[in-house]
């Protein structure tokens, strides 16, 4: 099989991932897009490993690594999402802006929200 097929597939997957990360509002979907991007990389690793006929199969080994890391990451990410949802009643990325620079007077609703959070 020609190397172009998996490479193009990986590019498409990665682009979908980037789009998802940048454009989706739901945190779950953002996390899924991150997974897409990781798997595009995995696909590349496996394809190049085969194409280079690497005797040590470093590409495959690295893919296993990435899968493990991705599993850990998604576990941690989902836990955070769960907590955010519990405290804020929302899973929209653009609503979770407590770390931004705000004037107290600019956004009284946010300030109140923050206080509530601190109390919790």
């Amino acid at each position: 099989m020609h190397l172009a097929y998996p490479a193009v597939l990986a590019v498409l997957l990665f682009s979908v991932g980037v789009y998802g990360v940048l454009a989706r509002r739901n945190v779950i979907l953002v996390l899924m897009s991150v997974e897409l991007m990781l798997n595009a990389v995995n696909l590349n690793l496996v394809a190049f490993d085969v194409w280079l006929r690497d005797t040590l199969h470093a590409g495959q080994a690295l893919t296993l690594f990435t899968i493990t890391v991705a599993a850990a990451e998604i576990g941690l990410g989902l836990a955070i999402v769960l907590l955010v949802y519990r405290t804020r009643r929302t899973a929209a990325v653009d609503r979770v802006t407590a770390l931004g620079d705000r004037h107290e007077a600019d956004d009284p609703a946010d300030a109140a929200e923050e206080k509530e959070q601190a109390a919790a």
Binding site: V21, L22, V30, V93, D94, L99, G100, D101
Partner: protein, 654 residues
């Protein structure tokens, strides 16, 4: 002889001052012994040193202080008859002033620092007297300047004292800058800063710029010794406590300038131009200050102007080439002027005012303070130059020196040829000296009669004369106890030299043997003329006082006797002939305007740049804050855009 003695003389008061400053706040009880003891001990040591040295010998000792690459600076000691005489005077007056101050400033909360500064000042004066090196001498000279600043400003609560201390400091510094250059030039020309070597070079005529050096040094001398045109600080310096006036502005600091010229007289004899300048300076100072003294209404300002005039006599004697006469007058004047100032302190405490015209309206001041009356009478007679008081002999020796110089046979001794002094110098000093003697006797008579023979009349208030310049002190003394023992006895101690010191010049193996060995005898011609002039001055003063009193008794308002004598000159003389106003127009106001301009430039131009430099990053920061929205996707967008941009740039670039 043991070198430790003369070294201890300046060191002891300096240590006393350091100890006084260190402990003054915590142990106020120690302040008095720490003030009096070191100064008294070093006065005794100065006397012992003088006695051990004897007459006709000199002692030079030096240790190298700093190798400079040029002329070396050494910690040098030079003792001869002149240093013996003046160090004993300084020790005596400083001890008297310290003892007097314990009573005079009894309730002053700042007494410890005051006493320490007086001690430090004394140490500096001893250093100037004993130093054999010009740079070390300069150190003492400047320490005196700064001590004078602090002591004049002792009552810094009053604006007068603050202004006077600043004025004294700035005016003397104005002279000190040319003085410093003069010292450097002298050291460079002579190849050394040791005074002995400098004098040897000068006597051999090997100085390259004697006139320039002498004129530069004269500027410093005019500042320190309050000679015209830098005399204006001394009358204002009377805002300090009276003992300070006695010590600094009569007996010691102003004497330093005269002493320096006396020490370096061979340098001045190299330049007849400098001698002419010195003589004119002295003549203008003498006559002008005597007129001013006659018109002053403030007791201390009369004495201050009188000091300026007597320093003019000393400068005149130096211009005539006779340093013996100058130092003779310096010592006798130091004693009787210290006496007069300390007596004036007693009078001011008793009368509770500085104003002579107010004292003239008080009854029987002489009965309330008999000791001050007696001793000030002695002091004023010495000031007026009446036989047989010390002032007579020393003033006559100055006039005699001027007379010799006028005849072309100046008493320069072994320092230089008599022809070095132009005859015009002698005539200038002689005429000015005689005229000043007349005026001096007149103002001494006015002072004495007005202060001690006042008569109160009904319906007159004791307000001082309106419009006259004053230097009042903060004065909380109880008039009933104006004359405690510590102040009374000191007056008598100082009255002895004021009365009898003059006879020391009578025989060549007494005082002259200690100095240059020339005769200090009074010559008949100047003796007769001088005495006649002095008596005439006293009589004129008395006559004016009688006339004024007779007018007052007839019901017309009492006037100042001086107004009668001076006529239209009275007002200008009272204000120092407008020299202060002239300086204020010529120098002070342009300087203030320049300072205003600099302040404007600093505030409006320089500070704007600084503020702008601070404000621009602030605005930039505020702009950047808008980017931090807290939306993670926004950040990622920016990140991606940046990454793409970088990739494109790298691709295009390579």
């Amino acid at each position: 002889m043991n070198l430790a003695l003369p070294i201890l003389v300046p060191v002891l008061p300096a240590l006393g001052a350091a100890a006084g400053l260190a402990t003054g706040r915590r142990y106020p009880a120690l302040a008095r012994p720490l003030a009096v003891l070191p100064v008294a001990v070093s006065a005794v040591l100065a006397l012992v040193t003088a006695l051990q040295l004897g007459t006709g010998t000199t002692l030079d000792a030096a240790t190298r202080l700093a190798p400079t690459g040029g002329p070396e600076i050494s910690l040098a000691l030079h003792l001869d008859g002149f240093t013996s005489l003046i160090s004993v005077l300084v020790g005596l007056v400083a001890t008297c002033v310290q003892i007097y101050s314990t009573a005079y400033l009894k309730d002053d909360p700042r007494y410890p620092s005051y006493a320490a500064l007086v001690s430090l000042f004394t140490a500096a004066m001893f250093l100037v007297v004993y130093s054999g090196d010009l740079i070390v001498l300069l150190v003492g000279w400047e320490v005196m300047g700064i001590c004078s600043y602090f002591l004049i400003g002792h009552h810094w609560e009053t604006a007068d004292a603050r202004a006077a201390s600043l004025k004294a400091f700035l005016v003397t510094k104005l002279g000190d800058v040319p003085f410093l250059f003069g010292l450097f030039l002298l050291g460079a020309d002579a190849g050394t800063f040791r005074i002995g070597e400098v004098l040897r070079v000068a006597a051999a005529g090997d100085l390259h710029h004697p006139t320039l050096i002498a004129l530069l040094l004269l500027a410093g001398v005019a500042g320190k010794s309050a000679q015209f045109p830098l005399h204006t600080w001394l009358p204002d310096a009377m805002a300090g406590p009276t003992p300070v006036s006695a010590l600094i502005h009569a007996a010691t600091m102003v004497a330093a300038g005269i002493y320096l010229v006396a020490r370096l007289l061979p340098v001045f004899l190299q330049s007849s131009a400098a001698l002419v300048v010195l003589a004119v300076m002295a003549a203008v100072t003498m006559i002008g200050s005597a007129l001013c003294a006659l018109a002053q209404d403030d007791l201390k300002r009369v004495l201050a102007y009188s000091t300026v005039g007597q320093l003019g006599y000393m400068a005149g004697a130096l211009a005539a080439g006779d340093r013996q006469a100058a130092v003779f007058h310096l010592v006798s004047h130091g004693a009787f002027k210290a006496l007069l100032f300390l007596g004036a302190g007693v009078v001011i405490h008793a009368a509770h005012t500085n104003s002579i015209s107010a004292m003239a309206r008080m009854d029987g001041l002489r009965h309330r303070i008999p000791d001050a009356w007696w001793t000030m009478t002695i002091g004023l007679l010495a000031l007026a130059g009446v036989f047989p008081f010390s002032g007579f002999f020393s003033k006559e020796s100055v006039l005699g020196a001027a007379e010799h110089a006028a005849h072309g046979e100046a008493l320069t001794g072994a320092l230089g040829p008599a022809s070095a002094v132009p005859q015009a110098v002698g005539w200038t000093v002689l005429v000015a000296g005689l005229l000043t003697a007349l005026l001096t006797a007149a103002y001494a008579a006015r002072l004495w009669l007005s202060v001690f023979y006042g008569r109160s009349r009904n319906g007159e208030d004791l307000a001082p004369q309106p419009g006259a310049p004053y230097s009042p002190e903060l004065d909380e003394a109880d008039p009933a106890h104006a004359e405690p023992a510590a102040m009374r006895l000191i007056l008598w101690v100082l009255a002895v030299p004021a009365l009898a010191f003059g006879v020391a010049g009578l025989r060549t193996d007494w005082l002259p043997a200690l100095l240059d060995g020339e005769s200090l005898r009074v010559s008949v011609a100047t003796g007769v003329i001088g005495t006649g002039v002095a008596v005439a001055g006293l009589l004129i003063g008395y006559a004016a006082w009688r006339t004024v009193n007779a007018r007052a008794a007839a019901g017309r308002p009492a006037a100042d006797p001086a107004r009668l004598l001076l006529g239209p000159l009275y007002r200008p003389a009272q204000h120092g002939f407008g020299v202060d106003r002239l300086y204020s127009t010529l120098f002070v106001r342009p300087t203030e305007a320049a300072a205003g301009l600099v302040r404007f430039l600093d505030r409006a131009v320089v500070e704007t740049y600084v503020r702008g430099a601070g404000a621009a990053p602030g605005w930039l920061g505020r702009a950047v804050r808008f980017a931090q929205t807290g939306n993670a996707q926004g950040y990622l967008n920016a990140l991606l855009a940046g990454a793409v941009l970088l990739v494109v740039l790298v691709a295009v670039g390579s």
